[in-house]
């Protein structure tokens, strides 16, 4: 069996199946939805960070763009939600195209500029003068399309798509070229890779993943404010989950979300008063002792992690 088929059969399929079945066994559907959302976002961060080395602190910008791309099509064109998902992807793609010059920056400069861009986008959308178009700071309400069951199904499909992208990158020439770019852009160019183009593709793919996640979020909640879909919590969580598990693998971001978001909810429920303390300490320990993520514990033993 080819490697990619194994990855689909033993990683993607069980994960999707589990989250398809869980709603029948567990009644906190919102929590399950959030798991699916973060699995998607962490895998999206993996695409841009794990495979090219750019750390997107403003990743939520694409999520917000997707949420508004979805909502504007519903509000103004009365598009069916399925078509509006296309709007989510297009909105994120457009923002990513606009921001491709950021890829000329390196390291922290990229991360900070990306963060600033996400904030600027939120300010733009919540401008009261744009009320007629975006509803400005007063938020979006689309109760007409409220259908959490369908929206959850769509979230599963988007997550499956993000997972398949990771499988593709882990098993393709293009994924290998991206890793080469991350390791050493000068040498990658010397191997014949068009470095700026490879980076731009990864950036656009990663943006579309977040945009679709934003669209499906808008559909699921149907009522939201700009601060909700541009909350930097999304960027931070997605980045931390991906790093915790270990990037540039398929499994790392999945493990990161399942453990860390699991712990997050557990502490949040049981001892909310200590929540930030425990969570903050956990993240610090991670950065100090496991910079390559949990997966690196296994990799160190010479085991190839998918």
């Amino acid at each position: 069996m080819p490697r990619y088929a194994k990855h689909i059969l033993f990683i993607v399929a069980p994960l999707v199946a589990a989250f398809a079945i869980l709603p029948f066994a567990y009644n906190n559907q919102l929590l399950l939805f959030n798991f699916v959302l973060f699995l998607t976002l962490a895998q999206g961060v993996n695409v841009i960070y794990g495979f090219t080395g750019y750390l997107p602190f403003g990743y939520v910008g694409f999520f917000g763009a997707g949420a508004y791309g979805f909502s504007l099509l519903i509000l103004h064109l009365h598009a069916p939600p399925l078509a509006a998902m296309g709007g989510a992807a297009v909105a994120a793609l457009a923002i990513a195209l606009l921001l491709t010059p950021l890829l000329r920056l390196s390291g922290a400069y990229f991360s900070i500029a990306n963060l600033a861009a996400a904030l600027a986008l939120m300010q733009f959308i919540s401008n009261p003068n744009l009320e007629a178009i975006t509803r400005g700071p007063y938020g979006v309400s689309m109760t007409g399309v409220f259908n959490p069951r369908l929206a959850y199904t769509m979230a599963l499909i988007v997550m499956a798509g993000a997972m398949l992208v990771a499988v593709w990158l882990r098993n393709s020439r293009f994924g290998l070229a991206l890793q080469a770019v991350r390791e050493d852009p000068v040498s990658a160019a010397q191997a014949g890779v068009d470095v700026p183009r490879a980076r731009a593709y990864a950036w656009l793919i990663s943006a579309v993943i977040a945009g679709l996640a934003g669209g499906v979020f808008a559909w699921y909640v149907t009522v939201f404010y700009p601060e909700n879909v541009f909350s930097s919590d999304y960027s931070i969580f997605a980045v931390v989950f991906a790093l915790f598990g270990g990037v540039s693998t398929i499994l790392g971001p999945i493990v990161g979300v399942l453990i860390l978001y699991g712990v997050y909810n557990f502490i949040g429920f049981s001892t909310p008063q200590y929540f930030q303390l425990i969570y903050g300490a956990l993240i610090m320990a991670l950065v100090l002792f496991l910079p390559q993520g949990l997966i690196s514990l296994v990799k160190r033993r010479g085991i190839d992690v998918p």
Binding site: R173, L176, A180, E183, A189, Q190, V193
Partner: protein
């Protein structure tokens, strides 16, 4: 330009913060020739390779390669046209296996599908035993060979090697010299930058001596060591600028 020339550089100038690392350099390489490029530290040898391979765009001058002007083209485009190089300090993809290192170049370097076989290429450079190890675990001689393997995977017509011999033991030196000559016999043109004169003598037909970004001598190594200016520059060492 003689039709035998694969490369002709004229008046090439590269300026770093006002400093002329290349100052009107001119040289040419024939098809199938191995040219030695020598000169004291800081004379601009690596800069010449960097500019010809597209890492830096020159401020002035022309680079004609295989009949076309290529000065200022991006690195990957030059790779596709047939120019590749190694680095003075090897630059493999550290976290990728040796095999993956060459696979990227096979896939993207412009060689025809099936023209280059990763296993055979690694084997020909004695890297078969470490093919599945991350490049970071290879010793420095092996990393140099991996740099060379990546360049060869793109089927270059012109290969620029920057101090490949430094740090190799005598047996390895003989072996690398034989390899380079074998490449040249198959039609590849090569510029060899090297401080080890024994190695230069072994592999090159002709040398260009550089000083302060210019060529000060062109001819055989035997003639070079008789040349007053060349001797002065090498004995003067640090006074090159």
């Amino acid at each position: 330009m003689s039709p035998d020339d694969i490369l002709r550089i004229d008046g090439l100038t590269k300026i770093f913060f006002g400093f002329r690392a290349l100052d009107g350099l001119s040289l040419h390489v024939s098809r199938g020739e191995i040219l030695g490029l020598v000169g004291p530290n800081g004379s601009g040898k690596t800069t010449c390779i960097n500019v010809v391979s597209g890492l830096y765009a020159p401020e002035d001058g022309s680079i004609r390669f295989d009949g076309a002007e290529v000065a200022g083209l991006a690195q990957h485009k030059l790779v596709h046209r047939g120019i590749n190089r190694t680095f003075q300090v090897p630059k493999p993809f550290m976290q990728l296996s040796a095999r993956e290192n060459v696979e990227v170049a096979i896939a993207y370097g412009g060689a025809r599908q099936g023209e280059v076989d990763a296993a055979a290429l690694l084997g020909s450079l004695n890297l078969d035993a470490v093919a599945n190890r991350p490049a970071a675990e290879l010793n420095s001689a092996q990393q140099k060979m991996l740099d060379l393997a990546r360049a060869l995977a793109t089927k270059p017509k012109l290969l620029l090697v920057d101090e490949l011999a430094a740090g190799l033991n005598p047996a390895e030196l003989d072996w690398v010299a034989a390899k380079l000559k074998e490449f040249a016999r198959s039609g590849m043109s090569i510029i060899v930058v090297e401080h080890l004169m024994g190695f230069i003598e072994q592999v090159t037909d002709r040398v260009v001596v550089m000083n302060a970004g210019k060529e000060i001598f062109g001819g055989t190594l035997g003639e070079a060591v008789q040349d007053k200016q060349v001797v002065e520059v090498f004995l003067g060492g640090g006074h090159a600028h």
